[in-house]
């Protein structure tokens, strides 16, 4: 399988990438290429021009800026897994990245590509929602920052404007009382999730002060289970409450039917993933 023909340009800086996006109609950015190239082989995508951002060093790396972890868009999944800074300040990302694809793919696949591609099966979008991350975008008019919440609009549809590029992701570092959980059901290594669920929770004793529940691959794009969050917030954790919230998670789902299962099965699996992730999140909040 070979993609249809395209022009290929190597961008040397973020500004150069934005300029090349503006100069080449319908050009696509290629990051790790492990979502885009398979789509191009199948002719699901036929961009006339690819702009390769792999050589741009300013897009790589992980730093701590005040109370935010800042991750360059071209940071690979394996770089996240091996980062002591991420382990210390946002271990959820490591737990999740270890469940993405396989070792070879994690060498190429990037967090920015995963977020910006807009595939509902990608794992990082729901994680960005749960973590309340901010996305830093660069376009012809310069840089802007936008919350991840509100960025995911539909299948292959995000808040990226024309000729804009995701350059980095800002994630609030873990505060005391905060816990994370991540659960993902997949049929085999390398497959997308049947359902995935990242959970952020802040606890005061046994009471949920704040909770965000992301859901992967059970809707046209990554979503939050807001009704379940409302049910949990301000309440003491009990088995009954979690069971009710799980029903609300299930009802928030609107999955596409495919070989991974029908809508009822996927929605129920999302509820199960929520239960597991929430339990782990509460346990980790209590340290």
């Amino acid at each position: 399988m070979i993609p249809s023909a395209f022009e290929y340009h190597r961008a040397t800086s973020v500004q150069d990438a934005v300029d090349k996006l503006s100069q080449n109609e319908d050009a696509k950015i290629i990051a790790g290429g492990h979502s885009l190239l398979p789509m191009m082989k199948l002719r699901f995508a036929e961009p006339p021009c690819l702009i390769d951002i792999n050589g741009i060093s300013e897009l790589k790396g992980i730093t701590l800026e005040g109370d935010h972890l800042v991750i360059g868009a071209m940071t690979s999944e394996n770089e996240i897994i091996n980062s002591p800074l991420v382990a210390q300040h946002c271990p959820l990302l490591i737990d999740a990245a270890k469940l993405i694809a396989d070792p070879q793919v994690r060498n190429r696949g990037t967090i920015g590509g995963d977020v910006a591609h807009g595939d509902p099966g990608n794992d990082h979008p729901a994680i960005m929602l749960a973590l309340n991350a901010d996305l830093v975008l660069h376009g012809p008019d310069g840089e802007r920052t936008t919350p991840a919440n509100g960025f995911f609009l539909g299948t292959y549809w995000t808040g990226l404007e024309e000729h804009e590029l995701l350059v980095k992701i800002r994630i609030p570092v873990r505060q005391s009382g905060v816990g994370y959980g991540y659960a993902k059901l997949k049929r085999k290594t390398g497959d997308y999730a049947v359902a995935g669920c990242p959970v952020y929770v802040r606890m005061s004793g046994n009471t949920v002060s704040e909770v965000r529940i992301g859901l992967t691959n059970v809707a046209p794009c990554a979503i939050r289970a807001e009704a379940a969050e409302d049910m949990l917030t301000g309440q003491a954790v009990s088995d009954d409450l979690v069971a009710q919230a799980a029903i609300a998670v299930r009802d928030a789902c609107d999955p596409a039917v495919d070989l991974r299962g029908d809508a009822e099965y996927k929605s129920n699996m999302a509820a199960q993933m929520f239960k597991r992730a929430f339990k782990d999140a509460v346990a980790s909040a209590r340290g």
Binding site: M1, I2, P3, S4, A5, F6, E7, Y8, I30, G33, H34, L37, P38, K41, L50, D52, N54, A101, D102, P103, Q104, V105, N107, R108, T189, G190
Partner: protein, 158 residues
């Protein structure tokens, strides 16, 4: 589309190829450079049979454009053995019978070669996780895991 000149090192030797931007590295290796060790399996970055080493990382060469290899160090299975004989990882696959039909073996070897540099003393679970991007439809993986364990021991002794 205009073809582009791409230069990289393959198994320690400099090569220069003229390719369309859409050409995938696996095709350049097999059809242009006659290096047919890396195989084509699923062509969708699942099976790992096309795995090569690029700048010290395992990469599935079916999902990598040749133009992206410009200036890189590429190692394919043809580069593992030396005039002294098989690489330790290759010999371990022979000794432990880590293959049956052999189709997946080039990818397994290249992944094991890199994995044992990332993690020189792995547990069985770590081997299974580290090799999880390579599929074998014959062996049930038991002897592949043994081969990686044996290679790890031999490399530690060396």
């Amino acid at each position: 589309m205009a073809k582009q000149h791409v230069s990289f090192n393959l198994n320690g030797k400099s090569v220069d190829v003229l390719v369309e931007p859409r050409e995938l590295l696996i095709h350049t290796l097999r059809e242009n450079l006659n290096m047919t060790g890396a195989h084509i399996g699923c062509e969708s970055s699942h099976c790992g049979v096309c795995t090569v080493d690029i700048d010290g990382q395992s990469v599935k060469s079916c999902t990598f454009l040749t133009v992206q290899a410009q200036g890189s160090e590429v190692l394919s299975v043809e580069g593992l053995a030396t005039t002294d004989g098989l690489h330790v990882v290759q010999q371990a696959f022979v000794d432990e019978h880590g293959l049956q039909c052999g189709f997946c073996t080039p990818g397994m070897l290249l992944r094991a070669y890199r994995f044992l540099q990332e993690n020189p003393n792995p547990t069985e679970d770590e081997i299974r996780w580290g090799m999880s991007g390579n599929l074998c439809r014959c062996t049930g993986y038991q002897n592949i895991v043994k081969a990686v364990q044996t290679a790890a021991q031999k490399l530690q002794q060396a």
